[in-house]
Symmetry: C3
């Protein structure tokens, strides 16, 4: 990751480089897509995101692409990772990257291909000429899932993040995961130490936590586990 | 954490953003308070620290505050985390933050509330007007502990950091932890591989280590364990 | 590490500070030397690297040094860590650092000694005067190993990095590690999920991986394990 940051820092000096997706669950483009759509909200308009979740690196049928939405720029592989931001923020333009660096490794397109393109965008280059080819987004927006009922991320506290927008639910809803029932609370501070609850997290998603404890251990949960929501 | 860094990088461009307290022991404001006072010494005058250790987020009785000491600025919750720097560096001014952002999550005040205030300070804003209210520090300095005999931090080598200023002790002192006796050495390089010793660490604190080994495993130690010091 | 970054950010403002070697295997200067030589290629000419791998900190016979190669600057201890870059990039100049800071801890020369010197170099200071003394490199280049057949690094996916330049080998070569035979594949995407293979990694080294799996667990491997290469 630091090699990618070094590339960006050198090629786009003055642009803040924030290491965003260092700990997305490996190989899970679906989870990554919902995380990206939830976590990008704090970033200012026209931020440039380099987004890489494998598998697929080295496969020549996996296209490298640039997505411009109404809010941000995204550079990464065409493997589903950008689907949720494409739907949520609407597609302003979409390009396949035809440019290739002189040296392209088989396993680190983040450093060799995506970071240099992101640096060009951050420096204000227009994506014209032969290096980029405009295309339609590969999926119709209606075909992209609005929510994911899976655990898409577990943070270092053991909190379980789902891909469900909390605004669609209320304090009366009950979450069920791995046979256990979890009730709502608004804040950590309102829950006795050691009790499990769900709440609207800082990214707007339904998240399951144990007050000053570890929900992953308590509920024996893992990324990909599916929750149900009872009225 | 990167969301907070993004906020800072955008709102205070040009100000170095150092992710400081990413791995303070969770929920332990006491340990965090001693760590902050030990680790801030390398930072130049007027550095602005965003300090967050829960619990308490979302509890409306937990005040957000700004502390200006003789050396630095601190932005964070009024939950004990700033006590040791307040005593060590003396309180130059203290404010309750009355300002609230348009969108304030219930669980991430670091991003929503503390980072924007830190960015204002880093940009040179004066804390006047209705957004800030000057107050007395909530504790008398005499009521703040000078030292902590607990393990307040364990680094990734397994070294055990205490909250005891090493200057008060000498090579003759013996540390006892979990029934085991630990003698002094000045440097790692003076100790045979595999032996346990205590030394004055780079922050001035008493620290227990195993030369090229793991003191946490050797002494079966955890954060919060209490050491004793024998003459 | 963040204390070192803080030092650098303050003393060399405007110079990008990349935290490079946060996770080199502890105490293993040999592994670190090969990693440094492999991972520094993405960095532009005249980058300044602060390189620290213990043991030896606090030992007054361990000299602090500056190495200028044809490509980069390196600041660190004279303990073997710079050997491979010295041979690969050729030694343009080599200095012992005679300067000492007012406060030099016994255990964190990265922060107290190496980072300030690196900041001076990054700011364009010439290494003249009494603070630096030019010397010959302590080893003849012919005496430095060209390759390491050990596992020198294991990343967070469990991929096993060796210190062998992949260009010297071909798809016909077979790797053997801990009694198991590993065949070549060019890309992750060409290998069925769960299968083990070796490939040329993004730094040019032979690396052993399991497609969407963990090679460390599969091969019960650790840093320092030695591979063999069969024709």
């Amino acid at each position: 990751m630091w090699e990618m940051r070094a590339q960006l820092a050198v090629l786009a000096p003055g642009v803040p480089v924030i290491e965003l997706f260092a700990d997305v669950p490996s190989y899970q483009t679906g989870a990554g897509s919902f995380l990206l759509a939830a976590y990008n909200r704090s970033f200012p308009n026209d931020s440039v995101f380099v987004c890489v979740v494998d598998p697929g690196v080295g496969d020549e049928t996996r296209r490298p692409v640039v997505l411009k939405t109404g809010a941000h720029w995204y550079v990464g592989p065409e493997n589903g990772l950008l689907d949720v931001v494409a739907r949520n923020e609407s597609v302003a333009a979409y390009w396949e990257i035809l440019w290739r660096p002189t040296q392209l490794s088989d396993s680190f397109h983040g450093r060799d291909l995506f970071a240099p393109v992101a640096a060009r965008i951050a420096n204000g280059d227009m994506l014209t000429g032969g290096d980029f080819k405009q295309r339609d987004y590969p999926l119709a927006m209606a075909d992209i899932a609005r929510e994911s009922y899976e655990i898409i991320y577990i943070d270092h506290f053991g909190n379980l993040v789902t891909g469900i927008c909390a605004d669609d639910f209320s304090a009366d809803n009950i979450v069920k995961l791995n046979g256990q029932v979890v009730v709502y609370a608004r804040t950590f501070s309102s829950v006795p130490k050691g009790e499990c609850f769900w709440y609207k997290n800082a990214s707007g998603l339904i998240e399951i936590a144990v007050s000053q404890g570890d929900a992953r251990q308590r509920l024996k949960a893992g990324v990909g586990d599916v929750i149900s929501l009872l009225a």
